[in-house]
Symmetry: C2
């Protein structure tokens, strides 16, 4: 029986066109990260399951992780996220590293998901993190990196927005102002997260089940109504939380002086479930009506190294997945065309005997740094051009019996249709025309 030609469910085959798109996506991620001095890192594909038990959500471990017992009886997982790995690496070197530490990676990750639009089992995720930045500057810089990234693909505020909250505010509201217990706070996090996806009745039902006082319930509903940074400020001050209001106002002021304001929107429902966030939390949303989804999420954490018994090191980071992001670029028509490769020149010959000199020319042009496609057997004149188009070349050379006899080539510019007869040994003239 013949084997299946299709890839495993939820994974992708990257044919050259697909791989060129991926290479383009990654190149802008790398360029942007490095323009801020972020340095690249990577870790193994496999990590011990223990590492995720310590930090990742339960759903991830129980339902989404690819795990197995290796031949040495170790319980291993294909990494479903990069944060535990970066924490493990930073834990090894942070003591002797000058701060801030700026790191990025584009790891390949797997989760056992039901494949659907924007969600695959195998995906990549740009991770940018800054560790040990003073005050709130790390939070501001990470937002700058994210905005610059989007702008470098040609996106602007008509395409995306950053919805933002501060976990310190959320905790102050729930615990101090409302007087909720830790257990109630945990449930309120979940409710805030769902609050925009349910109707008023559904929301009231969930809130009622938490067992808050009526006064606390009212505060919670007022909190969920907050829509601007000014409203948050007023709300906190009205509740005598001036210190936390000022800390947040200071952060907002920094975002203004760094040209971030036009992208930022306050959203009380953004909490991001993961336990480790302690400062700002944010998501970048696609504004396109057909694709209202989070493309990117991140936040600030005080102590990711705790699980390794290391001293606290504050950090801020974000992750941006390739699948939803490619959808974003496509829906906004921001993805260039990658149907064909980009090459400089195709070397062809119309007489078998010309193969040797043609191959020699190809070698010389490659040595000069060009991308050179050769046609390995004689090809008819009229078949040269459709082939050249598929190969994405700007120039072709031709050598028929006349040219072979005179040791010449025809060099043709496909865009201008200009054609030159040049001596085969006159590499300088050939390069001059191609590089013009």
């Amino acid at each position: 029986m013949a084997l299946n030609k299709l890839p495993y469910r939820g994974t992708r085959d990257f044919f050259p066109k697909d791989k060129r798109i991926q290479d383009y996506l990654f190149s802008i991620m790398i360029k942007t990260s490095e323009s801020f001095g972020y340095e690249p890192y990577d870790g193994p594909l496999l990590e011990e399951v223990e590492l995720y038990k310590a930090k990742s959500g339960e759903e991830l471990i129980n339902e989404q992780i690819y795990s197995f017992i290796d031949r040495g009886e170790r319980n291993m997982a294909i990494r479903p996220e990069m944060t535990p790995t970066v924490a493990r690496l930073v834990a090894q070197v942070h003591r002797e590293s000058s701060k801030p530490l700026r790191w990025y990676s584009i790891p390949r990750l797997m989760r056992y998901e039901k494949p659907q639009r924007g969600r695959m089992r195998e995906f990549w995720q740009l991770n940018c993190d800054i560790f040990g930045a003073p005050g709130r500057t790390g939070e501001v810089e990470i937002l700058q990196v994210a905005v610059e990234l989007f702008e470098n693909y040609g996106a602007n505020k008509s395409h995306f927005e950053i919805v933002l909250n501060d976990r310190a505010i959320v905790d102050t509201v729930f615990k101090k102002i409302m007087g909720a217990t830790d257990a109630q706070t945990y449930r309120l996090y979940k409710i805030a997260d769902k609050s925009k996806k349910v109707n008023e009745e559904g929301l009231k039902k969930m809130v009622a089940e938490v067992g808050l006082t009526p006064a606390a319930e009212n505060i919670f509903y007022s909190y969920l109504q907050l829509k601007t940074f000014d409203e948050v400020d007023a709300f906190l001050k009205k509740n005598n939380e001036t210190e936390i209001a000022d800390l947040f106002a200071n952060f907002i002021s920094l975002t203004k002086s760094n040209d971030l304001s036009e992208y930022l929107v306050y959203d009380p429902s953004i909490v991001r479930g993961l336990d480790y966030y302690t400062g700002i939390v944010f998501e970048i949303f696609d504004k396109h009506p057909d694709n209202r989804r989070a493309l990117c999420g991140g936040g600030a954490f005080a102590n990711l190294l705790q699980i390794f018994n290391e001293d606290p090191l504050p950090g801020v980071g974000f992750g941006l997945g390739d699948v939803t992001f490619q959808d974003f670029l496509e829906v906004h028509n921001l993805l260039p065309n990658f149907d064909h490769p980009v090459n400089d020149i195709m070397i062809t010959f119309q007489e078998d005997q010309a193969i040797e000199v043609s191959m020699k020319l190809a070698r010389s042009l490659r040595k000069a740094g060009l991308k050179v496609v050769t046609n390995l057997d004689a090809i008819k004149f009229k078949k040269v051009f459709p082939t050249a188009e598929k190969k994405g070349v700007r120039f072709v050379t031709l050598m028929g019996s006349d040219e072979f006899a005179k040791n010449q080539i025809q060099l043709k510019n496909l865009a201008t249709k200009e054609q030159h007869t040049i001596d085969l040994n006159d590499l300088e003239s050939i390069l001059k025309i191609i590089k013009a």
Copy 2:
């Protein structure tokens, strides 16, 4: 209990320095492959175990593969090699693709090995393949790609050599000239492969066990003595195998006219066990006495698509692993220094109040395409330079209270020690100096 900070056995953490080395290795692989018009592809990390059962060696399946049953009861493997995946992809598209198809990939692979020098459980491997090239031109081109690759890292014939054989010759010698059965031929392959690693007595013992005639044994020993292409030619002609001798001579002639001769050495012990090879087989060897190892292996195959019930499509390819190759570059001192990143400029300020204008300058320089590292709090003058060195910048800016008052910066070239006082808003002058 604190978690383990070290990576899984046989895998590597890539700290920024390590990742920069990897990025360098890959960049030359990509540049070289694309200079020949090879197009990039990739496939999923996981493939069905069935795919490897059809083509890979038994050792790979039984002892080296990472396999597990997924939550949908599929028997999946983390890919241990790329050839079955590329065959699966080519099988999907070869009918509508113009030939030759030139593809490359640098897949991440895993094998359950005992880690040792040059061998890890997780590794990468450049794979270049050409499908559907006329005659023996594909074999020649793949050797050219391999040689150009090594040369692009600065290696030459003092560093490496290509040992080569032709499976068509091996089969002719074993089956036609010696009259061996298929089962005997299979055993002779294994013996040829081991022949250089055992002494004469060990070799004789193995050969005796095959059960050949004394005449066939003598031919086998003569075969193993062949050392040059001329000797092979004479040996085949002496045994009346003129046709196969001429086919090989034709191939050797092509390698000569393509400047490959200085790298090529005939070696009768190179057979490469995999069943699918049918034409040339080769390995690239490190010539360094401390590192006599195969760095790369490949060959020509007539019919990789058979397992998908597709029509035959001849191909040639090679694989080059990152671990042994990095050892090769290191042992020959061909690896540049990647201790530090490469950035253009570090923006510093010596007075807290200068943060806002400094960050603004950083943004402008990034927009102009520079790699800009910022120091996010005030830093003393004398601490600027050691930090700048670690960040690999060519320039630093400084802004003390004087400069802040005058809205100026000091721009210092770290190599020449030249220093300029420039108006903060005069971006043009700043860029002119940096880009000079």
